[in-house]
């Protein structure tokens, strides 16, 4: 039924309309970009509202290409919320960098459309096409400061490595098609069921997994991350660390659970191995960073490692509980990390070109800008996983599920490495509060409404879900259940 098909993508259509509208009205605007922001936020919040209105439905659309279910809606809401927060925190920053143009908004919205469709996809082809929509928008966003060498380097690295792994993944998809004669997840499972899992299948699954591992910034496919984050606009770096990563995790969970349950043990082991590598690389390299933005890039690698432990545990134990905990981790991490990057964007917009995100320059920040200091400390403590913050709840659920999958040793590695992470996260707190400033950087201007709202929401979410995670967990369990129906 065509009408029903269209209904299944209404949340994306709303964002599409907003993005197109931005591109159309932008030439007629003067310097002020408030209208652009308004259109973008309206589109995103409209999409959230419609998505929530569609909760509880299970709509198979476009000949099984995508399914609108609570699963997809969970991610649509998460992505739109992440995008809206990113935009709120961008306005000042772009203004201070003198490059406040509508394309930024439009590209971000296009990336979100791609991510939405990735989460809703039930077919390798649609997944691949939406992935490319997301990726190409991301390449452009990384190169947004096109007069800067760093930004160009960032984009080029992202593009080259991204294309390379896309090709590997596409090869994997073609192998899957060769064996199963289908690209639909359920049809693949149907075709492969009952067969012994041969080496051909494993190779195909591994190739697809490697492509996705690149997108979630898993070691050893992580080399692009620090440079891309460093060169990209700061709010966009924050967005990269949560949005595309969560979208790739949605595909890992959906495609591998629904499409390749027969090879669960094999891909479970693969992800466990990747997880250990990623946790090690992320945490150990983050230890030696002196630049907060780069440190957060490595920290995002480390968090990908924790998440992969959940995915691996899910495959290994053939139990959906670790998968559910991956979702709660993604949700918590989205808000925490956007908040952390938001504070950095705020500092950059206040201090200007002199600010290079180095730890040295943040010395004494707690005195000069107490709010920024307190908020950044909150996000750092939360990333460490101290109780009282969402980061702890996320780690608690995630490592709980790893233990429950009988992988106690993996949980031990994970928690010990997160103890290591305490060192580099708390170092930020140390320089901000325990050290005296070496050079005076003036932070005078008031926080704009958008920035204040963005930071306020992320901080509130970080604290609230720490004490009342119940409803979030319930809705995740419900959403996860719809993956199988």
């Amino acid at each position: 039924m065509p009408g029903g098909d269209v209904l299944a993508i209404v949340p994306e259509l709303i964002i599409l309309v907003a993005a197109s509208a931005i591109l159309l009205i932008e030439p007629f605007l003067k310097a002020d970009r408030t209208a652009v922001m308004a259109v973008a936020l309206t589109g995103l919040f409209g999409s959230i509202a419609v998505s929530l209105g569609l909760l509880g439905q299970n709509r198979v659309a476009f000949a099984g290409m995508l399914v609108l279910s609570d699963w997809a809606i969970f991610f649509k809401v998460l992505f739109a919320a992440g995008g809206a927060l990113t935009l709120m925190m961008s306005s000042d920053y772009l203004e201070s960098q003198r490059r406040h143009i509508g394309e930024y908004y439009a590209l971000l919205l296009f990336a979100i459309i791609g991510m939405d469709l990735m989460a809703a996809a039930r077919d390798l082809m649609l997944f691949y096409v939406s992935l490319e929509l997301m990726a190409i928008s991301s390449y452009l966003l990384a190169a947004f400061f096109r007069y800067r060498v760093r930004s160009n380097e960032s984009s080029l690295k992202y593009l080259l490595t991204g294309s390379f792994t896309s090709a590997i993944m596409l090869y994997g998809i073609s192998l899957v098609y060769g064996q199963a004669g289908a690209t639909n997840y359920a049809a693949i499972e149907n075709a492969l069921r009952g067969q012994a899992t041969g080496s051909g299948t494993i190779l195909a699954v591994f190739l697809v997994a490697i492509g996705l591992a690149f997108k979630v910034s898993s070691a050893p496919f992580h080399m692009w991350v620090p440079d891309v984050y460093e060169g990209a606009p700061t709010p966009i770096a924050g967005f990269f660390s949560v949005g595309p990563k969560a979208a790739a995790f949605s595909v890992i969970l959906a495609a591998f659970i629904v499409g390749f349950p027969g090879a669960a043990e094999q891909w479970g082991i693969l992800f466990i191995v990747l997880s250990i590598l990623t946790m090690l690389v992320g945490n150990l390299f983050a230890l030696v960073q002196t630049n907060v933005k780069r440190m957060l890039a490595y920290s995002s690698i480390a968090h990908a490692g924790y998440l992969l432990a959940g995915v691996g545990a899910m495959g290994w134990s053939k139990n959906s509980y670790p998968g559910e905990t991956v979702l709660i981790y993604l949700a918590a991490y989205t808000f925490i990390n956007l908040g952390a990057f938001g504070v950095l964007a705020f500092l950059k917009s206040q201090v200007g070109a002199k600010f290079d995100y180095s730890l040295k320059q943040m010395a004494g920040l707690g005195r000069r800008s107490p709010w920024a200091g307190v908020l950044l400390s909150l996000f750092m403590i939360s990333l460490t996983g101290i109780p009282g913050t969402a980061g702890f709840i996320a780690k608690f659920y995630l490592f709980g599920s790893v233990v429950w999958a009988n992988l106690v040793w993996l949980a031990v590695i994970g928690v010990l490495l997160s103890a290591v992470s305490a060192y580099y996260y708390l170092r930020v707190v140390i320089v901000m509060f325990f050290k005296e400033p070496e050079e005076e950087l003036s932070i005078s201007g008031p926080m704009s409404g958008g920035m204040a709202a963005g930071l306020g929401i992320t901080a509130f979410a970080t604290l609230r879900s720490a004490f009342f995670p119940g409803w979030l967990w319930d809705s995740i369990v419900r959403a996860f259940g719809t993956l199988f129906s």
Partner: protein, 519 residues
């Protein structure tokens, strides 16, 4: 408990735990720029908390071993996590100690904190909530949350208001504790999982899990994980190395709270979890724990002997004194356990007092080096008198509290194996040596001319010390008031380990006992 207060829906423990943080919120919102107002609020809040703790102690029924003032409501229902509070005699004594020392810590740092005072007093109050939360939690998840949350204010207290090497000390303190804690977290998850899988349902309730009877395969390494976490906190030899740095660099109030309360959380955790959950493993651990304890006693005392820094000396003496506490706990007899808990209170009072005194001297002289002092009794006779009392208490003079605890522990240890009691006594002798020697070098001997004009203790400082003197004398002369709270919980612990004691309590320990005597 059907008294009037309960009928009114009086949630005493919730009120007790969150009163300090409520005071902190009030200070943050209304008194940002008024030091005298926020200091007064902090003090009043902590005094009310102490009063509430005393009220609860008065209402406490000492005869029963069960947990009292229980509150239980569901928190995260999906995981069987509940907001479950309750106290027994052991928690009660530690709560009294915590609330008392918090008042004194606030009073003691009234004038010594010049920079960012609001944040300092808020940190102290948040810390108090964290510590009280640890002692009242009856749910593992809740316990873990409080256990970790108190790291943050302490981290800031050391890191912002500490001495010259404060950053190093703060991060060392944090990382040591955190490594232990995360291992404990995995063990918590593992035992909860085991219990759920074996038909018990998903629960983090401590009382339920204490009855679970974990098999050795799970219990052995879970015990190890819990034990490491708590041993770091106590701290036991050889994971004590964070303590001298943290205690020395922390501001006076921080040292008082660290030594007075935070170390006790480690022993409390051992009682509740290592012994409560895994009695069959705990009895097998007797010998290693005792060996580590006596090493700590002698090593800590020997290190104290050679410290040139007064604060560092007191810090190392904590290692020695906490060795007595762990030894008394793990000999598993009535005297040992009661002595151990009582000694925790004694150590909190005496070491808290010693740190406070060192802080008062430091406020005047800005040095902690023993060699810089000398003849302080001349300009500061009152201070010297107080100092002598605490030094004598700490070295175990009969009539003061330190003696009672150490005596009970030595009796308990002697019953288990004479050899350990003998070695532990060496620690007491060394204790007398380093304490008296320090006292002699600082208070007597040749007077340093620089200090002749120093003012003696102010009224505020005397008020800070008097309650500690009171406690030292009270426990020293009439310990029954406090031991009374401990009979039932101690018996409870013994009944938990009794079935296994005959079976596994022997082993190498039995060998040692036959070699060296004991009964």
């Amino acid at each position: 408990m059907t008294d009037f207060a309960t009928q009114l829906g009086f949630r005493g423990l919730t009120l007790l735990t969150f009163l300090p943080i409520a005071g902190a919120v009030v200070m943050l919102i209304f008194m940002r720029k008024r030091p005298s107002a926020y200091k007064a609020t902090a003090l009043i809040t902590s005094i009310f908390t102490l009063a509430l703790a005393i009220y609860l102690a008065a209402k406490f029924q000492t005869g029963t071993s069960g947990f009292q003032f229980q509150e239980n409501s569901s928190w995260i229902a999906g995981l069987g996590i509940s907001y479950h509070l309750g106290i027994d005699g052991i928690s009660l004594l530690l709560i009294l100690l915590t609330t008392l020392l918090s008042v004194l810590a606030i009073l003691g740092s009234w004038n010594s904190i010049k920079d960012r005072g609001l944040a300092f007093f808020i940190s102290l109050l948040v810390l108090e909530t964290g510590m009280l939360g640890v002692f009242v939690s009856m749910d593992l998840f809740l316990f873990y949350v409080f256990w970790e949350i108190q790291l943050i204010p302490m981290y800031f207290i050391i890191g912002i208001w500490g001495g010259p090497r404060r950053v190093y000390a703060a991060i060392k303190f944090f990382l040591y504790t955190f490594v232990g804690s995360v291992l404990m977290l995995v063990a918590i998850l593992a035992i909860v999982w085991w219990y759920a899988k074996n038909g018990g349902g998903l629960t983090f309730d401590i009382l339920t899990l204490q009855k679970a009877g974990f098999p050795v395969s799970i219990a052995a390494w879970s015990f190890a994980a819990f034990f490491i976490a708590f041993a770091i906190k106590v701290p036991m030899f050889p994971v004590h190395t964070w303590l001298p740095d943290a205690h020395t660099e922390a501001p006076t109030a921080g040292s008082v709270i660290l030594a007075g309360v935070l170390l006790k959380m480690g022993v409390y955790g051992m009682i509740r979890f290592c012994i409560g959950f895994f009695p069959q493993i705990a009895v097998r651990a007797i010998l290693p724990v005792l060996i580590l304890s006596v090493i700590a006693i002698v090593y800590g005392a020997a290190m104290s002997l050679v410290q040139p820094d007064m604060k560092r000396l007191v810090a190392y003496s904590s290692v020695s004194h906490m060795g007595f506490v762990t030894a008394g706990l793990f000999v598993f007899n009535q005297q040992g356990i009661e002595g151990s808990v009582l000694q925790m209170v004694n150590h909190g009072v005496l070491t808290g007092a010693l740190f406070m005194m060192v802080g008062f001297f430091y406020d005047r002289t800005h040095t902690r080096m023993i060699s810089d002092y000398g003849g302080m009794a001349k300009p500061m006779p009152v201070a010297a008198a107080f100092f002598s009392l605490f030094v004598l208490g700490s070295l175990g003079l009969p009539g003061l509290n330190g003696f009672v605890g150490e005596f009970l522990i030595l009796i308990g240890t002697f019953q288990y194996a004479k050899v350990f009691a003998v070695i532990a006594s060496i620690g007491i002798i060394l204790g007398a040596a380093y304490l008296l020697w320090m006292y002699q070098r600082t208070m007597f001997q040749q007077a340093n001319e620089k200090w002749l004009t120093l003012k003696d203790l102010s009224a505020r400082e005397i008020v800070t010390l008097v309650p500690l003197v009171g406690m030292a004398v009270w426990i020293g002369l009439y310990p029954h008031t406090f031991l009374n709270f401990l009979h039932a919980p101690a018996q409870n612990i013994l009944s938990q380990v009794q079935p296994y004691l005959a079976e596994h309590g022997g082993g190498i320990a039995h060998l040692a006992a036959t070699l060296f005597g004991g009964n």
